[in-house]
Amino acid sequence: MSTPGSDKSKVPFWRDIRVLRVLAQIVFLMAVVAIILWAISNYRQRGMIFSYSFLDQEASFDLAEGIEFKPTDSYARAFLVGVINTIRVAAIGVVLATLLGLITGIAKLSRNWLVSKIATVYIEIIRNTPLLVQLFFLYFAVIMKLPKLSEAVVMPGPAYLSNRGIVVPWPRLAESFNLWWPFLFAAVAAAVVLIIIRRRNRQRIGRPSIKAVWVFACLILIPLAGWLLVPGDPLWLDIPELVRKSGGVLKVEGGVSFSSEFTALLLGLVIYTGAYIAEVVRAGIQSVAKGQTEAARAQGFTNRQIMRLIVLPQALRVIIPPLISQYLNLTKNSSLAIAIGFLDLYAVSQTMLNQSGRVVEVFFMIMGSYLAMSLTISLIMNIVNKRMQIVER
C-alpha cells in the first residue's frame, strides 16, 4: 500500500484504491441497470405498455364503503375512495390502539397481581397469533354471528348491533351552529392565551400563576354560555331508528353506521397493535431508573408529580421511536382488509386491477400511497421525538 510521501505514479491504476472504488460502483450500477432493462424488455415483449391514461376512464364497479361513489366515476376517484378508507381506519386505529396500549402497559406494571396477570395473558395471546387469524375470527366467528338486523342487539344510546355492523347516535350541526361557533373559537383562543401566560410565568417565577383548572373552565364555560345565548340548539343528536320500509325491508335510519367489515378491521387492528404498544409502554416506563423515582420522592414530590414530571418525560424518550414503528405497522396491516372485504386502498386497487388489467401501474400506485403514508407518520412522529429529546442539557 502507498505510504504517505511515496510517489503515487508508482501505484498501477488497477491497484489504486480510488480507481477501484469508482470502478466497483460503475460495475454495480451497470448490473442493476442491466437487470432492470432486461425486465423491461421482457415486459415489452408481451406487448404491454405503461400508461396511466386508464385513470380517467369510467370504473364501472360499485364501492359500498366510504365517500360517495357511482359506477360512472373514474378509476382515479375509486382509488381516492380506497385511500380515504385506509386513512380513516388507520387514523382512528392509531388513536384507539395508543389508548388501549397505554392502559394495558400500565396495567401490566400494576402492583395488583390479578390486573397485571390479565394484561400479560392478553398481550401474550395477541402477540403469539397471526393478525389475519384474529381478523378472520372477529369477522366470521364474532361479528357475522351477531343477530340479524331485525333482532339487532340494542345497546344503551341507543346503538344497534347486528351482523350488518353498528349504528350509533351522532351529533349533527343545526342551523344555529353558525351563531355558536364564534363562542367555540373564543374558548379555544382564551385557553391558548391562558396557557401561554401560564408558561411564561412559570419560566419567570418558577411556578404557574394561573391554575390549570381555569384553562378547562374556559374551554367548558364559554361554549356553554354560547349554548344558552344562541336561539335553538346548535347541535342535535341524530338518533338511529329501526324502520320498516314499504317492501318489508328493515333499515336503520339516522345516526352514523359503521359497516361490519370496518368494525371488524378496526377492532382487530386496535386489539393487535394495542398489545404491541402495551409492551412498548411497559419497557419505556421500566427503563427509567428506580433511583429517579426514589430521588424525586426524597425531594418531596407527590406520586402524581413523580409520574408527570420525572418518569413520563424520560419514559417517552424511550417509548416514541418504537411507537412510530407500531403506527407504521398498523397502517400497513390495514391492507389485510381485503381478506374480510373492507374496501381499503389495497382492496380497491385489486378491483381496479381486475377491471383494467393494469398490473404494474396499479402496483406503483399502491406502493407510492403506502410509502407516502409511512413517510408522513415518520415525519410527524420524528418532530415529536425531537421535541422530547431536546430536554437534555
Binding site: R21, A24, Q25, F28, L29, V32, A39, I40, N42, Y43, Q45, R46, M48, S110, R111, N112, W113, L114, V115, I118, E124, I125, R127, N128, T129, P130, L131, L132, V133, Q134, F136, F137, F140, A141, M144, K145, L328, K332, N333, S335, L336, I338, A339, Y346, Q350, L353, V359, V360, F363, I366, M367, Y370, L371, S374, L375
Partner: protein, 353 residues
C-alpha cells in the same frame, strides 16, 4: 438488653396466603376495587368461553379434519414422507440439544453439515422424483398445503432471505455511495409497504417481467415474495448486529493484515451474527405468523385450509371452532419459539461481554 420494658413487637410480617392476598390484591382500597372488577371480568369471559367450548361448540369439525389441517391436499398415501421429514428435523434437533455443551467436539461440526444437507434431503422427500417413480412419485408444490405449507414458507423464507439480507446489510454500510444508496432504497421501500403488496407483486407482476419461457409455480412465486420482503428486515437486523461490533475489532483485523473480505468473514460477521440470533428468531416468529397472508393470493396454508374447512358441507359455518383451533395451534408454536429464543438469548449471553 435485659430490659424487658422496651421490647417492641416485630413489624407485622405479610406472609402466608392471607398476607400475599392482602399485599398483592387488596392493599389500598382502589386495588381492592380493581381486584373485584377483574374477578368479575374473568368470571364473565371464562363463563362465556367454557359454556361455548363444552356445550355448544362442535369439535368434530376439528377432530375429523385434523389430517387436513396438517398436510392439506398432500396425498394420504404419501403422508409418510412428511412424517419422515419431521423425523429428520426432530432427530437433528435432539442431537443438537444433546451436544449443546460439547463446545469443541467434532460432532458439532458434523451436525452443522447435517443441518445443511437436511434441506435438500427434505426437499426431495417432499417433492419426490418423477411422476412414474414407484417409490416416491412426484408431489408438485401446488399440492402442498396446511401446516406443512406454512412451515415450508416460513423456513425457506427465513433461510433464503439470510444471505440476501446479509449482502444488503453490508451494502448499506458500504463506503461506496452508489451501493449504499441503492441498498438503502431497496430496504426502505420494502419496509415501507405491506407484505401483501409484495406478495401481490410476486404473484402478478413478476411473471410479466420474466421471459415467457420461465413459469414459476404459485408457491414459488409466493416464496420469492416472502424472501424479497424478509430480506429487507433481515438486513436491518444484521446491520444492528454489525453496528454492535466494536471498532477495535475492525482495526485489530486490519492490523493483523486481513483484507476486507477476510476481515468480514473471519472477524466481524461471526460476532455480528451471534448478536442477532435472538432478533432473527423473533423475525422468524413474525414471518411464521405472516405466512398466513398467502391465503389472500390463493394459497392453502393453515389458514387457507381452515377457510376451506368452514365451507365443507357437513360443517358449514363452523367458523368459531375452526379459527379457534388455528389460533391455538399458532399460539403454541409461537409461544414455544419465543420461549426458546429467550433461553437462547441467555445461553448466548447477548449483551454480555
Amino acid at each position: 438488653m435485659n430490659d424487658q420494658t422496651d421490647v417492641q413487637m416485630p413489624p407485622r410480617v405479610e406472609v402466608g396466603v392471607l398476607g400475599w392476598l392482602k399485599k398483592n390484591l387488596f392493599s389500598p382500597w382502589y386495588n381492592a376495587l380493581l381486584t373485584v372488577i377483574s374477578l368479575g371480568f374473568i368470571f364473565f369471559i371464562g363463563r362465556v368461553i367454557l359454556l361455548w367450548a363444552f356445550r355448544s361448540a362442535r369439535w368434530e369439525v376439528v377432530t375429523t379434519n385434523l389430517k387436513v389441517f396438517m398436510i392439506g391436499r398432500y396425498p394420504s398415501a404419501e403422508a409418510w414422507r412428511v412424517l419422515a421429514s419431521l423425523g429428520v428435523v426432530v432427530l437433528l434437533a435432539a442431537l443438537t440439544w444433546a451436544f449443546r455443551k460439547a463446545k469443541d467436539s467434532p460432532i458439532r461440526r458434523w451436525l452443522v453439515l447435517a443441518w445443511i444437507v437436511s434441506f435438500p434431503v427434505i426437499g426431495i422427500l417432499l417433492r419426490g422424483f418423477g411422476e412414474e417413480n414407484p417409490f416416491m412419485p412426484k408431489v408438485s408444490a401446488e399440492v402442498w398445503s396446511g401446516l406443512l405449507l406454512t412451515l415450508v414458507l416460513a423456513i425457506v423464507g427465513i433461510v433464503a432471505s439470510s444471505p440476501l439480507g446479509m449482502l444488503l446489510a453490508l451494502g448499506r454500510r458500504s463506503r461506496l455511495p452508489v451501493v449504499k444508496v441503492l441498498c438503502t432504497i431497496y430496504i426502505e421501500a420494502i419496509r415501507g409497504v405491506p407484505l401483501i403488496s409484495v406478495l401481490f407483486m410476486s404473484q402478478l407482476m413478476l411473471p410479466l417481467f420474466l421471459p415467457p419461457q420461465i413459469r414459476l409455480a404459485t408457491v414459488m412465486r409466493a416464496l420469492t415474495g416472502i424472501t424479497l420482503f424478509s430480506a429487507a428486515y433481515t438486513a436491518e437486523n444484521i446491520r444492528g448486529g454489525l453496528a454492535a461490533v466494536p471498532r477495535g475489532q475492525y482495526e485489530a483485523a486490519q492490523a493483523v493484515g486481513l483484507n476486507k473480505a477476510l476481515m468480514m468473514i473471519l472477524v466481524i460477521l461471526p460476532q455480528a451474527l451471534r448478536n442477532v440470533i435472538p432478533t432473527i428468531v423473533g423475525q422468524f416468529i413474525s414471518l411464521f405468523k405472516d405466512t398466513t397472508l398467502v391465503v389472500i393470493v390463493g394459497l392453502l396454508e393453515l389458514l387457507g385450509i381452515a377457510k376451506a374447512v368452514t365451507g365443507q358441507r357437513e360443517f358449514i359455518g363452523l367458523h368459531q371452532e375452526v379459527y379457534f383451533f388455528v389460533a391455538v395451534l399458532f399460539f403454541i408454536c409461537c409461544y414455544l419459539m419465543s420461549y426458546g429464543s429467550r433461553r437462547l438469548e441467555k445461553a448466548l449471553g447477548v449483551g454480555e461481554r
